[in-house]
């Protein structure tokens, strides 16, 4: 360490200050949201005392509660379905080499890199072309479509580290295929599946653009509701909803972190997105 030139050590200090500013920049808006969700003022800019009344309003706002319920329902269904589909696909991609697996692999990445608006608009056009009306179901369909890839990626990353010899050993010791799968393979996969499911849930819960184009009347999810509220005008109740959503997803992400040992994306080496 002392072999570094003196200005190298000074740089570290300047670097730290800069990094501090960047983190401040990242978190300032969130801090503002949190602060002003407790602010006893409708006008939002000057601190006038602590209050919980905006949260109270939030939990008595039937439209918001309905949207929350819709978001939750969609997220749960989408997560379950895409977890199943995605895990099976990940298993197939890791264990088997089949013709077209390269293309399949590429196809899995398309939802991850495509601009959301293109995805949303394309799906809307397709549904209209085959005369399927927009509804909660179409929202769920859309959500499954864009979350399944994340599950495949996460589960596959997990499975790559699995030692096949453990399965062989189990079978040599007398277990049959089912027992081996249930007691050896699946337990190993489970943290990956769970992590992928949590990620899918968060993405579904927070999704705006794709849902915006594919939700029918009565299928308003929480992000859509927030959007329409924002268009009407800024109120502290929106801050309260925002903080609620941020808190929910943050908690889920922290559980993800506990499972995987790193935040989403950090386990993906190189240039992989998210």
């Amino acid at each position: 360490m002392s072999r570094k030139p003196r200005d190298q050590r000074v740089k570290a200090k300047g670097l730290r200050v800069f990094v501090g500013f960047v983190y401040a920049f990242l978190f300032a808006p969130i801090v503002v949201l949190v602060l002003f969700s407790f602010n006893n003022s409708k006008r939002n800019a000057v601190w006038k005392g602590f209050t919980l009344k905006w949260y109270d309003a939030l939990f008595h706002d039937t439209a918001v509660l309905q949207a929350l319920q819709n978001s939750f329902k969609v997220a749960v269904v989408a997560t379950i379905v895409s977890s199943i589909f995605g895990t099976l696909a990940a298993y197939a991609l890791v264990r088997y080499r089949f013709r077209g697996s390269g293309i399949y692999n590429g196809a899995i990445y398309i939802p991850l890199v495509i601009p959301e608006i293109v995805f949303g608009v394309a799906l809307l056009t397709f549904l209209r072309a085959v005369s399927i009306n927009l509804s909660m179901t179409t929202v769920v369909i859309a959500h499954i479509a864009f979350t399944v890839s994340y599950i495949v990626v996460v589960v596959r990353a997990r499975m790559v580290g699995f030692d096949r010899h453990l399965e062989e050993a189990a079978m040599d010791l007398g277990a049959n295929e089912l027992q081996t799968f249930l007691h050896v393979t699946l337990p190993f996969m489970l943290p990956g599946i769970l992590a992928g499911a949590l990620l899918a849930f968060v993405l579904s819960f927070d999704d705006f653009v794709i849902t915006f184009f594919n939700a029918g009347v009565g299928a308003t999810t929480l992000p859509l509701k927030v959007y329409s509220m924002v268009k009407f005008g800024v109120t502290p109740e929106i801050n309260a909803i925002s903080v609620f959503m941020l808190a929910t997803t943050s908690i889920i992400l922290l559980v993800y972190y506990k499972l995987q040992g790193a935040p989403p994306g950090a386990t993906i080496k190189g240039a992989g997105e998210e």
Binding site: R3, Q8, K11, L15, V19, V22, F25, L26, P29, I30, V32, R43, A45, F85, Y91, R95, R97, F98, R99, S101, Y104, A107, I110, V113, P115, I117, V118, V121, A122, T125, F126, A129, I144, A145, V148, M171, D172, G174, N176, E177, L178, F181, V202, D206, V226, V230, V234, I238, S242, M245, T249, S250, L253, P264, A266, K269, G270, A271, G272, E273
Partner: protein, 319 residues
């Protein structure tokens, strides 16, 4: 208790893929019987497993993309429906004097935002990778946490800060830095700020991944050979982290060009970007053919960029 040394039911599984399953006793349960049937038929098993996802993506992703491609070649009917045809008029329309500025603007805003994220993200990634130490994961999670939460909400939060009665203006006017509130929203400034903010982690993460894998001893060697920090940075560190820079640039620029939430919430009519135009074509203007053409163009640019990136860097770095 059967402990088999003799292989059973290997089949021809070795040739078309998969690792041949270990020798195992013939179980009598359903699972085992199904597994025995499938053993050696890896292609069939793989198709069954990967099938549902494939079907889903084909139906609800690939097919829709084909539909908008087809529509993009059509035109707007009298009632807002799409009349199928084969003309590139919609694509040409995108370059007309009316619409071309929007495209230019989208590229410009996205480019500036990308540059800003690079300028902010590189030092940040450098710090975490080289100075992070035991707290690397903490720094990473602090970086990623806002990113994984709702983009809509994080963009909305800037409205709270930037509006005329917002936090920033209140602070500035009460400190008498400015005589009256600044008009910060609905400007290129607010849109670019929103884009930069939203995509900063997209840039930082690939940079971090690239810097993390850097051989630190190369930097040490550079110092040992007498180079100062600037020279080392320019001639050693940055060139070695180029894959990360390229990846980050793509990951920010492409989505930023097509972003719709930020210009919608933080911008106004004078800052319209491609995303807003697409949205309006599908909702109010009801020209789905034109909207499809724009969408498809956006997709095409993206795919071309990815193609060149993969060509350059290879696919090993993608998961």
């Amino acid at each position: 208790m059967p402990s088999s040394a003799a292989p059973s039911g290997q089949g021809a599984g070795g040739s078309s893929g998969g690792i041949p399953p270990a020798p195992a006793p013939e179980g009598v349960g359903l699972f085992s019987r199904v597994a025995a049937r499938l053993r050696g038929r890896s292609a069939l098993t793989a198709s069954l497993l990967a099938g549902p996802t494939l079907v889903w993506l084909l139906l609800f992703l690939i097919l829709p993309l084909c539909v908008i491609l087809v529509y993009s070649l059509g035109s707007r009917g009298a009632y807002g429906d799409v009349v199928l045809g084969f003309s590139f008029d919609n694509y040409l329309k995108a370059f007309s004097p009316l619409w071309f500025p929007v495209i230019l603007r989208s590229f410009a805003y996205a480019a500036i935002a990308t540059l800003l994220t690079l300028l902010m993200g590189y030092p940040l990634a450098y710090f975490i990778a080289l100075f992070g130490g035991r707290r690397k994961n903490l720094y990473l999670i602090l970086l990623m946490l806002p990113f994984w939460t709702s983009y809509l909400i994080r963009t909305y939060s800037w409205i709270v800060i930037l509006r005329t009665q917002g936090v920033l203006n209140t602070v500035l006017t009460s400190l008498h830095v400015v005589p009256e509130p600044l008009n910060l929203l609905n400007t290129p400034f607010s849109v670019i700020l929103g884009l930069t903010y939203g995509f900063l982690p997209f840039m930082t993460l690939p940079l971090y991944a690239s810097l993390e894998r850097l051989d630190k001893s190369l930097i040490e060697a550079s110092y040992d050979l007498g180079a100062n920090r600037l020279w080392t940075l320019l001639k050693v560190t940055i060139p070695l982290s180029l894959p990360g820079i390229v990846a980050g640039t793509l990951l920010v620029f492409i989505p930023a060009v097509g972003d719709f939430v930020t210009p919608d919430l933080l911008g106004g009519p004078s800052t319209m970007m491609i995303g807003n135009v697409i949205q309006s074509q599908f909702l109010s203007a009801r020209d789905w053919a034109y909207g499809s053409a724009l969408s498809f163009s956006l997709m095409a640019i993206l795919l071309v960029a990815i193609f060149f990136y993969v060509r350059r860097v290879g696919t090993e770095d993608l998961v």
